[in-house]
């Protein structure tokens, strides 16, 4: 009884972490703690399967909400056009002040090394930004979504036409109920995903329709086709 009493708070604590464990967002320490507990407690393991069911249906529910119409984007960019460039921020001035006071405390050799490192970082960043501007419209990538574990048959690989503008790409993806989940990957292509409830045959039809829109699409194939 006492043993159970002592274990209960620890178990409750582990149980409270299960949703984050299922989502893969725990830090290493907590993740290992949960994994150890699950390995030794079949009831906790069972509860984790309940959490996974909830997670799966939450993802399904959110994906079924669809995507906003192009109206949102048009409204935003009309407002931006009307407003002009954002007001300059005083933060940069403060930053210079802060950096100056920080540097005054360092030895000249330390400052020389730091300056060399900063120069390299500056050139690396410039190269990256230039590359983005050169291939501007391809940059509609997004980090992997929570639901990245949806079946691979709802995914496709796409390379956008260099002439397509960002707004055309967004409208195109919205119109076909697709979203970018990763990229750019090889050859500047992107992985896109249709909603989880799209059947494989529907994905094939969608991809065929998308192929015909050559103004925006340079290349598109379902994940399966691409491997062949």
């Amino acid at each position: 009884m006492n043993a159970v009493g002592r274990e209960a708070p620890e178990r409750q604590e582990i149980e409270a972490l299960l949703p984050w464990h299922a989502a893969g967002t725990l830090g290493r320490r907590d993740r290992e703690r949960v994994e150890r507990a699950i390995a030794n407690d079949s009831e906790l393991a069972r509860r984790l399967t309940l959490v996974r069911e909830e997670q799966q249906e939450t993802i399904h529910l959110n994906e079924s909400l669809g995507v906003p119409s192009s109206r949102a984007m048009e409204k935003l960019f009309a407002a931006i056009e009307a407003e002009g460039a954002p007001a300059p921020v005083r933060r940069s001035f403060d930053l210079v002040g802060r950096v100056s006071s920080l540097l005054s405390g360092f030895a000249p050799r330390t400052i020389a090394y730091a300056a060399a490192a900063a120069t390299i970082a500056f050139f690396l960043q410039s190269a990256m930004l230039t590359a983005v501007l050169m291939k501007d419209h391809q940059d509609t990538s997004t980090p992997q979504l929570a639901s990245a574990n949806t079946p691979s048959n709802s995914h496709a690989v796409i390379r956008f036409s260099p002439q397509a503008t960002a707004s055309e790409i967004i409208s195109f993806l919205n119109a076909h109920g697709a979203e970018v989940v990763e990229g750019p990957v090889r050859n500047g292509s992107f992985n896109i995903r249709f909603s989880a409830d799209t059947s494989q045959s529907e994905v094939v039809r969608k991809v065929q329709r998308m192929q015909s829109e050559t103004k925006v699409v340079e290349f598109i194939a379902t994940k399966g086709d691409q491997g062949r």
């Binding site: 984050w20 967002t25 959490v51 909400l65 984007m73 407003e83 967004i170």
Partner: protein, 186 residues
Amino acid sequence: MQATSDEELIGRIASGDRLAMQVLFARHHVRVFRFVLRLVRDESVAEDLISEVFLDVWRQAGRFEGRSAVPTWLLAIARFKALTALRRKPDEELDEEAAAQIEDLSDDPEASLAKKDKSAVLRKCLEGLSAEHREIIDLVYYHEKSVEEVAEIVGIPENTVKTRMFYARKRLAELLKAAGIERGWP
């Protein structure tokens, strides 16, 4: 070639780069839209709100200090906008919506028929949660936010995040039970 980071885009937006704004919008607008839509339950309002969220980003980009990840920042702005929009709705309207959701679960013949399909019932019960519970479940499961990030978006302590998630799941289990699905928890 690695894609430009969100933080780099924000830096470019701060200097008035519209292309960077388009890229950021393309990356995040769908998830922000879904988050807002789950709160306000009105597509047209949700679309207006995401325009406002990204317009705020355009205006505030220079003040972004990178203390939180950009998607977390976006969701925090979106949440504030959604709650402000909800406050404009008369209380009676909100109560009616909440009541309708709860009644649906126990009395709707569709729900009874759907008992065979556990997934469908589970989704219906997720819909039936209060806005507060829906929000935390979405943030954890769909938006993959850590305890710390949820605390930041919702503006509550980390321990409260865990407690709220627990009660949201508990309420979900009650709704499932009312709909005929007993999961043996809590």
